[in-house]
């Protein structure tokens, strides 16, 4: 049971990050490595702000906006200076490593004795002493589900606005965007901004669940995100009643579940990144095989 809860928690938190990667990787066709720096950027901002006394719930929109800023810079490097997408992300990822250290002041920053979005008087009044006390072990999952629903509805809404239509069009056929008299570079930057906003938002939630910042937290985030997106979009393709955004979140939970099982099967927690990488490779190979069959 504890394992299931842990998988759900991790899956939902990383699911928000995966939604960001869905925008960059699937819609914009932009393998965005910025997330390896952008995710811990969200973590460190949240930790520093909460330690400074900012209301935990406020850290979420602030981190989202800060993430948007980072995405804008990546987009700017790619669009204006015409640096290749992968390189633009790697440049940002590397730079953010130092930025994160600067913000934290040291490599590891805890915040165990502070109220967070998962641990506060309001939730105590509902779960510990209140009517939902039988759900107390699920309280983190429930809070995450609420956040997830808000994020998902907002993203679905955005993708169906005129601006969202342009975002979908630019990845599909950027000649059409130009034909409509719209600067396709600006559309790409907007997409990267929203995507990295979601990544940093995810980081700020992760910070409050884990209760600390560590400078190496971001390593491999992009791989987790890409794996979630690929699982979500290819394995769940046939299930048509899911929106793509839902599929991506479920993909993230499945992926975290697989990693958890592998660790449980006897691997050590130090093997985590190896498991993450190998599993991603397996998923890539499996989904590639599928494509070939369709063509042949």
């Amino acid at each position: 049971m504890a394992l299931l809860i842990s998988v759900l928690e991790q899956g939902l938190i990383y699911g928000i990050m995966a939604l960001g990667m869905y925008i960059t990787y699937k819609i914009l066709d932009f393998p965005d490595m910025t997330v390896d720096g952008g995710f811990p950027f969200g973590v460190v901002l949240a930790v520093v702000m909460i330690r400074a006394g900012v209301a935990p719930i406020l850290t979420l929109p602030i981190c989202f906006l800060a993430g948007c800023l980072i995405g804008t810079i990546t987009g700017f490097i790619n669009v204006v200076f015409k640096v290749r997408d992968l390189l633009a992300g790697i440049i940002m990822m590397t730079a953010l490593y130092s930025v994160n250290l600067r913000i934290a002041g040291r490599a590891n920053l805890p915040m165990y004795d502070y109220y967070t979005i998962f641990d506060n008087k309001f939730l105590d009044s509902i779960f510990t002493n209140g009517p939902l006390s039988f759900l107390v072990s699920f309280r983190t999952v429930i809070v995450l589900l609420v956040i997830m629903i808000v994020v998902k509805v907002a993203l679905d809404w955005y993708l169906n606005t005129k601006s969202g239509f342009m975002l979908r069009a630019v990845g599909d056929n950027d000649a059409l965007v130009t034909s409509m008299g719209v600067n396709k570079g600006m559309v790409r930057i907007t997409g990267l901004a929203v995507a990295n906003g979601l990544v940093a938002l995810s980081g700020s939630i992760y910070a409050q669940q884990q209760g600390y910042f560590d400078v190496s937290m971001g390593t491999g985030t992009a791989v987790v995100g890409l794996a979630s997106v690929i699982i979500g979009t290819s394995l769940l393709k046939k299930v048509s009643f899911f929106r793509v955004t839902t599929s991506v979140v479920i993909g993230s939970i499945i992926y975290k579940g697989c990693v958890a099982l592998a660790i449980k099967a006897g691997l050590q927690s130090t093997d985590l990144k190896l498991v993450t990488a190998v599993l991603f490779l397996v998923i890539l190979i499996v989904t590639m095989d599928k494509k070939k069959k369709v063509k042949g």
């Binding site: 342009m166 599909d172 008299g181």
Partner: protein, 257 residues
Amino acid sequence: MLELKNICKIYNSGSVNEMCLFDDFNLTVPDKQFVAVVGSNGSGKTSMLNVICGSIDADRGDVIVNGTNINSKRDFERHKIIGRVYQDPSKGTCPSMNILENMSIADNKGKPYNLGRGVNKQQVERYKEMLSQLGLGLEDKMYTQVGSLSGGQRQALALLMSTMTPIQFLILDEHTAALDPKTADIIMELTEKVVREKELTTIMVTHNLRYAVEYGDRIIMMHQGKAILDREGDSKKSISTEEIMKVFNEISVECGN
């Protein structure tokens, strides 16, 4: 009115492969004229369209629209008054979005793409009406992904989308070349209808000499970056496919083809 003045364009400048495409090229297209442009591969037809649309920059010379020089305007800014249909049917539409969404995008051209709803349900009937005029049955496929339509259907949709909003110029870049002969005929007739109804100033590049002869008010044959044949009015009406073919063969022989 569209004017190209003293356009020079050199590819691979300064290398052994240097190729001068345009050397002092001039063209004036008055309002509401429908120009058909023919010529062999590499004669500069598509490059001319690209210079007009800003997809490539000329090394020298001016592109002038209604007396205003638009040299410094970037491609997407120029497209605000230009509608363009490409040779590749997939370039004028969004394959992963449905017909309704595609038309909604096109209908919004010239207005900001902001946080308003992408699809306006009240317009559905109007879009259906427009689609039914194409006669391809697309009005019953509003929620079908454009990627699953045939090339002809997509090109018809692309043509419709590029002319939905008020534009001044219509640029057709071999827009029937990828279609089968029958579908090409249908698209060509639709083109004629749209151009005449909306009184658009049109430049159509085509490899089909018959279309160039049958449609349009003016015919231009390009060769090595020059207009070697340019007829309009009555002299255009009297021109025959054979006559064009003869000129075409002469220049081809000259090139050693």
